[in-house]
Structures are given as structure tokens and as C-alpha cells.
């Protein structure tokens, strides 16, 4: 469905060049849910914005790579052609629904708008479809609620409206960027359950971006772990959690608190996230890695394929086949 290869995005700022995404490759299978996990500054959102053609340029610039979406190269598309894909074939939902919704328009109209723009439906038809979509995402009395404004909804309800909007054109790919981070635990579970249900019912392909290892474990089939602009590891969810290959993934999994287990002492990763204007040479994790050796400080490891469709960007994985 989507194939990203060798994507590199830099931001050219006065204070220096920020290397936000560096030689990142991954594939998203049709009807699957692909998770991108990482901490702040790992490049997960920039990757999504690059796919959507929404990078602020300048200062951002795609310095290498291709994004193939159903066989079409997106990065070289003209803005006008991209506009027909974005919001139509590929849609996106964001962390904070309040800032993504227009506060002075009724929500029903905002959902209907994308149908009018992309499918040329007359307002009346688009509106009734919008109401149907609101019902689908679990908003009760949708016909009445469609007349309300965003501030009249709670955070969870606003996110449902965003989802309804994103689903309106029956997209091939939905990118959800931290869709539940601003929500309470129970509301978060409601939204995650909704995404899961919609995915199963409509055969949606989803890219889920989050910092929460619990959320990707609950929702995703395949996972990519990012750190400081590098894709550290790619694997299926089960493999990643049961046998993490990359020291960073292992470190993360050992450092998270869990509600289902007593933990005597967490194994924390020392140090802090590097400054991306001056990223560490070689492997970007080497400054904090417990397994570091000389090579790591000098040469950037490639994505080693340690098993079929399982990649680790680490010199320890040299046993595997070298790819891309």
C-alpha cells in the first residue's frame, strides 16, 4: 500500500541543519496497522508530514527518498495533484482535535466539506452522509449534534468528529498522529477501540504514530521504532516485544512502567536525547547504548535484515543480510 524508501528530511535553520529523518525505509501492508513509536524529536511526525506533503518548505527539505503510494510516487507530485490525494485517499488525524477543527463552523458542515470538495456532492447529500459518519463513530443523536460547534464537544467527542472527517472519503490510508495523547485513560480506550473496529469493518490501512509502547502493542501489526531521526528497528508487533533486537528497543521496553506487573526496579536508559543539529556520529544511539563499541561511534549502521522482514539498525546485527 505504502512504501517509503531512504527518506531523509532536513530542516535548514539559521542555527544549523536539523537532521530530522535520516535514511528511513519501511513498508505498510494493505489493511494492516503500522505503528511508528518514538520519543520527542525521533522524527515520527516529520515522516508522516513528508508522506502527506505537508512539510513546511522551507525550512524543511526532503533530501533523499521516495514515497510510493499504490505505485505512485508522492514526493515528486505537483501541489495540485497532491491536493487530490491528501484529505481524500490519505487522511490524517492529529493529537489536539480542538486546533484542527474550525471553531466557527458547525461540525456537520466541516465533515461534509471534504465530501463536497473531493466527491463533488451537493451540500444536502454531503450533510446527511456526515451525520451517518458521526453516528458510525459513536456520537449519539448525530443529526442534532451536527448543528453544534466544536467547543460544545468534549475532547473524546472532538476526536470522534476528526475520525468521522478522516473517514468521509473512504480513504486508503489513515495516518493517526498521537490521536489519544490529550485524552483521559478511559476516553483513550474508547477511541482506540473505535479505531480498531473501523479498521476491521472497513479494511482501513492505518499508520499510528505514538510515544506509547502500550498503545502500539494493543493496536498494531507491524512496528517501527524511531530514535533521533533513525529507524532503529522494524518488526511485527509480536516479534518486537518478545525478542527486541536493537539495544534501544530493549532499553525502552525495560524502562517502562506497567499496570499489569510488579516491577522492583526499572532499567533506565542513561543520558538524554541528542541535539539533532549536532547528532552523534555513527549510530545516533551510541552515546547512551550499553553495548557500544568503537565501530558504532564512527560508522552509521545500515538496516540489517536479521530475519525475513525484520530489520535492526545496529552493528550487533551484522549476522543478518545487509539491505537498503
Amino acid at each position: 500500500m505504502l512504501s517509503v524508501a531512504d527518506l531523509t528530511v532536513n530542516f535548514y535553520l539559521e542555527s544549523g541543519i536539523v537532521s530530522a529523518v535520516n535514511h528511513v525505509s519501511f513498508d505498510v501492508r494493505k489493511r494492516s496497522s503500522f505503528g511508528i513509536v518514538g520519543e520527542s524529536g525521533s522524527g515520527k511526525t516529520v515522516t508522516a508530514l513528508a508522506i502527506m506533503g505537508l512539510l513546511p518548505m522551507p525550512p524543511g527539505k526532503v533530501d533523499s527518498g521516495t514515497v510510493l503510494f499504490k505505485g505512485e510516487e508522492l514526493l515528486s507530485k505537483a501541489p495540485n495533484d497532491m491536493r487530490k490525494i491528501r484529505g481524500n485517499r490519505i487522511t490524517m488525524i492529529y493529537q489536539d482535535p480542538m486546533t484542527s477543527l474550525n471553531p466557527v463552523l458547525r461540525v456537520g458542515f466541516q465533515i461534509a466539506e471534504s465530501l463536497m470538495v473531493h466527491e463533488g456532492l451537493p451540500y444536502r447529500d454531503a450533510k446527511s452522509k456526515a451525520i451517518e459518519l458521526m453516528g458510525l463513530t459513536g456520537i449519539s443523536a448525530a443529526d442534532k449534534r451536527a448543528e453544534d460547534y466544536p467547543h460544545q464537544f468534549s475532547g473524546g467527542m472532538r476526536q470522534r468528529i476528526m475520525i468521522a472527517m478522516a473517514l468521509a472519503t473512504k480513504p486508503d490510508l489513515l495516518i493517526a498522529d498521537e490521536p489519544t495523547t490529550a485524552l483521559d485513560v478511559i476516553t483513550q480506550a474508547q477511541i482506540l477501540a473505535l479505531l480498531k473496529r473501523l479498521q476491521a469493518e472497513y479494511g482501513l490501512t492505518v499508520i499510528l504514530i505514538t510515544h506509547d509502547l502500550g498503545i502500539v502493542a494493543e493496536l498494531c501489526d507491524d512496528i517501527m521504532v524511531m530514535y533521533a531521526g533513525h529507524a532503529m528497528e522494524r518488526a511485527t508487533a509480536r516479534e518486537l516485544y518478545s525478542e527486541p533486537q536493537n539495544p534501544y528497543t530493549r532499553g525502552l521496553l525495560e524502562s517502562i512502567t506497567r499496570a499489569d506487573k510488579d516491577i522492583k526496579r526499572l532499567n533506565s536508559i542513561p543520558g538524554s536525547i541528542p541535539d539533532l543539529i549536532k547528532p552523534p556520529k555513527g549510530c545516533r544511539f551510541h552515546t547512551r547504548c550499553p553495548m557500544v563499541f568503537d565501530k558504532c561511534k564512527e560508522d552509521e549502521p545500515p538496516d540489517f535484515e536479521v530475519a525475513a522482514n525484520r530489520f535492526s539498525k545496529c552493528w550487533l546485527a551484522t549476522a543478518g543480510r545487509k539491505t537498503r
Binding site: D184, V185, I186, Q190, A193, E218, L253, S255, T257, R258
Partner: protein, 327 residues
């Protein structure tokens, strides 16, 4: 059982709501019951967790304990002294020395124009602790105790990462050797890999300085890691209270069960997220009658909307307010 350090007795904090100008002049009796009859005790050297979703009253409770808000009724007793009573300046100064707080957003709680050293030293300066040299020494020791370098002593907050800033906030809170530290979501704003560092640091410092913690959080996994006892709050009231392990292994209140069921577990072979509860938290301006949770409760019975359940001890040390457990 250890000596009680802090006791909160039937604490209530109501905020009047004034919607329009006419209501300012003719006050209506509408109030938000942010904290409504909350009681708990914290034993010396323990970590007590106050959990709940946003708007449940956990932060208001901690603000009353800090003396930042006056209670509407009820008392907060710290080492037997009523916090909200009238005190001499000396007494209240002593109290404020002994209870310190660390908040969620470290960048927001540090003065950007002060060096790390001055930030940590400030409480010592205000309290005239010894001469300038000793104050400086104490502050330097504190900075080292939280895992920062001497070189960082003269830096400014913006030069540090989020985790390091939170270390500064902790150093400042501990500079006066408080007895009780209120931790209000201290790791929620931090990145995953840094979160564990700060949690471990808090554990180590608690041992080193014999601290008692009141830990306020919405994150149940962190509560499980850090706390000895927990109270779960919903709409201004405590609905369940017991030892941490007991809460996670044997939750009694349907709300606690729903909360626990909603936490994503980092284990793809054991997926369990299903829509746990429908609906949202009711408005605190318009509280449900009877049990406040009855509008969303999966075990709803007729009595729940009529009678408010009492908070009773079901078994030793395990308190819950739910009609399911009355016979």
C-alpha cells in the same frame, strides 16, 4: 503501622460559579464540588497515590494540602497541626518548609532568568539558612544528589533537557529537607527513556532523605511502580482505597476496574482493549444523584441512583464505596 504524617479529614473544597454579571451581584448557590468529603492518611516514609482522570479533584486536594487553597470545610492535619487554622508566621513558615511540591511541567516551574544554582538556593535564601557559603554548599550538594553535574550549577534552565529540568525542580523541592513532598504528575511530560531515570531517582531520594510522598497521577502504571497505598478518585470523591498491590490484583469498585482495563498493556500477545465504559465524566456542576458513578456503571442497580453508598472497609485495609458490597 508507622506514625501518621498527614491526615486529611472530611476535606471539602467548593468553587462558586458565577456565570453572568447579575449572578455576581446576586450570587446563585451553584458550586463546583471539586473535592467533596475526602479523607485519607499518609504514614511517614510511605508513598501515597491519588489517582483519577482529569477533573476528579486530585490536584485541588494537593493544593489544599500545600496551603495554596483554603478548604471549604474539613481539615488537613500535618504532624497533628491543622494546616488551615490560624497560625503565627513562624508556624506557617515551618509548615511551608516541610511540605514541598514538584509539578508536571518543569520548564514552567523554573524561572528562566535564574541559574540552576540560584533556583536551588532560593528556598534556603528565603529562609535565611546559615550564611551564604553554607547555602551555596547545600545547594551544590542537592544538585549533585539529583544527578546533575557541578558544571550545570551555573547554567540556565533552557540549556537543560526536560529530564534535567525536572531534576532541578526536585533539587529545589528537597533543598530545605522537607518531610512531605507532593509530586503532581512529575513524569507525565517526560520522554519514555527519561521517565524511568526520574522515577528511580525519586525512589532513591526517598530512602536517602526519609521522605514521604503524595503522588498525584492519572497514570496507573506509574502508580503501581511507585506507591505503597492508593486512593482512586472520581468526581471529587474517593471511591476506593487500599494497598497498591491489592488494588491492582483485586479491584472492587467498578470504576477502578474500568480504569485498570483501559490501560494499554505493552504485550501484543495479550490484547485486551475493548470499549470499557461508554460516556464521559458528568459535569461537576450537575452531579448525578446517589452514587456519582451510576450513570456509567456497568453494574448499575436501582438503589445506585437513589442512595449514596458509604465508604466502608470491605476487608482489612481495603475501603470502597459501592452498593455491590453492601449486604
Amino acid at each position: 503501622m508507622n506514625e501518621t504524617l498527614l491526615a486529611v479529614d472530611n476535606l471539602c473544597k467548593y468553587f462558586p460559579v458565577k456565570k453572568s454579571l447579575s449572578e455576581v451581584f446576586h450570587p446563585a448557590d451553584k458550586v463546583v464540588k471539586a473535592v467533596d468529603d475526602v479523607s485519607f492518611t499518609i504514614a511517614k516514609g510511605m508513598t501515597f497515590g491519588l489517582v483519577g482522570e482529569s477533573g476528579c479533584g486530585k490536584t485541588t486536594t494537593s493544593k489544599v494540602i500545600l496551603g495554596l487553597l483554603k478548604p471549604t470545610s474539613g481539615r488537613v492535619l500535618f504532624r497533628g497541626m491543622d494546616v488551615s487554622g490560624n497560625h503565627s508566621k513562624k508556624e506557617s513558615r515551618q509548615y511551608h518548609r516541610e511540605i514541598q511540591a514538584v509539578f508536571q511541567d518543569p520548564a514552567g516551574s523554573l524561572d528562566p532568568r535564574m541559574t540552576i544554582g540560584r533556583i536551588v538556593r532560593e528556598p534556603l535564601d528565603i529562609n535565611n539558612e546559615g550564611d551564604e557559603r553554607t547555602r551555596d554548599e547545600v545547594a551544590r550538594k542537592m544538585v549533585e544528589a539529583v544527578g546533575l553535574t557541578q558544571e550545570q550549577y551555573d547554567r540556565y534552565p533552557h540549556e537543560l533537557s526536560g529530564g534535567q529540568q525536572q531534576r532541578v525542580a526536585i533539587a529545589r523541592a528537597l533543598a530545605l529537607h522537607p518531610k512531605l513532598v507532593i509530586l503532581d504528575e512529575p513524569v507525565s511530560a517526560l520522554d519514555m527513556s527519561v521517565r524511568a531515570q526520574i522515577l528511580n531517582l525519586l525512589k532513591d531520594l526517598q530512602k536517602e532523605f526519609a521522605l514521604t510522598y503524595l503522588f498525584v497521577s492519572h497514570d496507573l502504571s506509574v502508580v503501581r511502580y511507585l506507591c505503597d497505598t492508593v486512593s482512586v478518585m472520581y468526581l471529587g470523591q474517593i471511591v476506593e482505597s487500599c494497598e497498591t498491590r491489592e488494588l491492582f490484583e483485586n479491584p472492587l469498585h467498578p470504576y477502578t476496574e474500568a480504569l485498570l482495563g483501559a490501560v494499554p498493556i505493552p504485550d501484543p500477545s495479550n490484547r485486551r482493549i475493548h470499549e470499557p465504559l461508554s460516556g464521559t465524566i458528568p459535569s461537576p456542576l450537575n452531579l448525578p444523584t446517589g452514587c456519582r458513578f451510576h450513570t456509567r456503571c456497568p453494574s448499575y442497580m436501582e438503589i445506585c441512583s437513589k442512595v449514596e453508598p458509604k465508604f466502608i472497609e470491605i476487608k482489612s485495609g481495603h475501603f470502597v464505596s459501592c452498593h455491590l458490597y453492601f449486604s
